[in-house]
Subunit: 340 residues, 2 copies
């Protein structure tokens, strides 16, 4: 019997035309709080009572129709969360019933009181892992693992911007532990010491008047050949053109609304530089199940030990979420969480 639940449901389906801002102007234009009917539980699927679900930058792309997959009209938004499994569609999921798990909202969105999830993609949570850490256990940590893998292809040093973000901190720790030398770029001063403690070899502040001089010195000393970019502004382009031959600009996010210009196109020709994108959904199928499982296990261990911690900006109940998410998101680099 199909289950009805309360959800932040998408008003429109499919893709929007043209670019969209990183952060939407008004969530009410894209979502509405209402009852939705969940899909019937298939074999290998489970019903999850959602405990917490984070607001990721990719959720904003998706709900505006600017993500790599089309919106499902009338379904909840939300890519991941943690919750308790309360029913299973077949034998595969039955052993999960009663367990607290991290899950992906690939079958129905996670911004809802209940969600349908693939049992195979549910990760049972250790007791030592908090709800908060469990809710953001999949997208950011797997992205960090895959991006640091990509950075390593360019040598032992790399540059990452938006380094004070949750994902940035995960990458700094991972990179340091693997003997790499990450150069962290942040927009405003204040977190330099914290980021060095988190694993950064160098910290650069892009709003500083001598940013490009500082960057030039760090680039000369460390020769980073990969630039992991979640910002996409002109400062990032300038940094790319200051990097050595064969540098790769790997774009995985777009926090700035600037359209950076390519001022030195000869570098593509003569220095073998490249621009590429990174999307977890494209990389995951190429990641072996063993590598993915090992990465998730490692991630969970880091959270359980307290090496990593998900910083929470605010927990917001479902019924006031549409008014409160954007102000909370604007206030802090920590995660905004929905507690349905």
């Amino acid at each position: 019997m199909a289950q009805v639940t309360q959800a932040l449901a998408l008003r429109e389906g499919g893709f929007a035309r043209g670019p969209r801002p990183q952060v939407p102007e008004d969530l009410h234009a894209h979502l509405e709080l209402r009852e939705v009917t969940l899909p019937e539980l298939g074999a290998g699927q489970v019903l999850v009572e959602v405990i917490l679900s984070p607001v990721n930058p990719s959720d904003f792309f998706y709900l505006q129709g600017a993500y790599g997959q089309p919106r499902q009209q009338g379904q909840a938004a939300g890519f991941e969360g943690c919750g308790r499994v309360i029913a299973a569609g077949g034998a595969a999921g039955e052993k999960l019933i009663g367990q607290r798990v991290a899950f992906l909202g690939s079958l129905s969105g996670a911004w809802a009181k209940h969600a349908v999830a693939e049992a195979a993609l549910c990760i049972p949570l250790h007791d030592a892992v908090s709800d908060v850490d469990g809710a953001a256990l999949i997208v950011n940590p797997l992205t960090a693992v895959a991006l640091v893998d990509r950075a390593r292809e360019g040598g032992d040093a790399f540059i990452l911007n938006a380094a004070a973000s949750q994902l940035g901190r995960l990458m700094l720790g991972l990179a340091r532990d693997e003997g790499l030398k990450p150069v962290a770029v942040i927009r405003r001063p204040g977190e330099e010491d914290a980021l060095r403690a988190a694993g950064a070899t160098e910290v650069l502040v892009s709003s500083a008047p001598d940013f490009m001089d500082q960057a030039g010195a760090a680039i000369k000393a460390l020769k980073p050949r990969v630039l992991l970019d979640a910002v996409g502004d002109q400062a990032t382009a300038d940094l790319f053109f200051a990097m050595p031959a064969r540098a790769a600009w790997v774009i995985y996010g777009k926090m700035s609304d600037e359209a950076p210009s390519l001022g030195q196109m000869g570098q593509f020709i003569f220095m073998g530089k490249t621009v590429e994108g990174f999307w977890l959904s494209r990389v995951l199928p190429a990641l072996s199940p063993e590598r993915a499982a090992a990465a998730i296990a490692q991630v969970q261990k880091r959270f359980a030990r307290g090496d990593w911690q998900t910083r929470v900006a605010e927990e917001i109940p479902l019924d006031t979420a549409l008014d409160r998410i954007l102000p909370a998101y604007a206030r802090s680099a920590g995660k905004v969480m929905i507690r349905p």
Copy 2:
């Protein structure tokens, strides 16, 4: 005994700082007509009496210090030409003495009455190949072969701009003969029929008011996934963002002084698009000697048969070249040639 010759010699060595225009403002700032001493002939090297040498866009990059190799102060500019071998530094080159050859100016520049060249890179010319075709036998044709190889990796359709250039026409013929579907982009109307006859499946005019509509229709019909770019302007960037998922923007020249902006960076992330450069000097070592020799032989056959023809804008003697090259270059899409 070292040989002295008349040459267009480089005033400065090394690299210039920052970007340079595609076409220099004044050649006298970079070159002077004077006597230079050629390097001693080493084993495997030959002395060539130059007959003709073309002015390639890459020469302009080089003489301004904006190429991928540093300028050699006091040496002649000029990357290639044809001439008659008049002396050899060892047994390897002796069989070439008296022969008319295409040569690369890698040991001393080709914009001179004499040049020193590697015997192994000299290509004896069939009688049916004219001086004009022989002078431009290496750089453009090998570039065309390597770029069409790259285009084929993306499927059977691709886009190339500056399609009315000598190199563009070479690629159109090559692509058509190999069963590919090239979409030719030109800036001004007038050569549509000629380019269709040369091999273009579609011809688009980038200054036309409905350019993007036309481009959209061609892209929808043919699904080109590689964009071979010698221009680097905003229209090229717009075209790239109108192409389907996994499209590659391959930059091999920079005729425009615009710095195009990246308006839809989400396409790198979600559509797997990429930007890369192409430089013959980087590709040649990866090309097997057999493939390179086969390509050159094929090129020479095309010229000998009259399938291909180097269009000449003007032949200019060495002693007035510094005043006459730029006006001649501006007047025509054909090759400007120096006849020392």
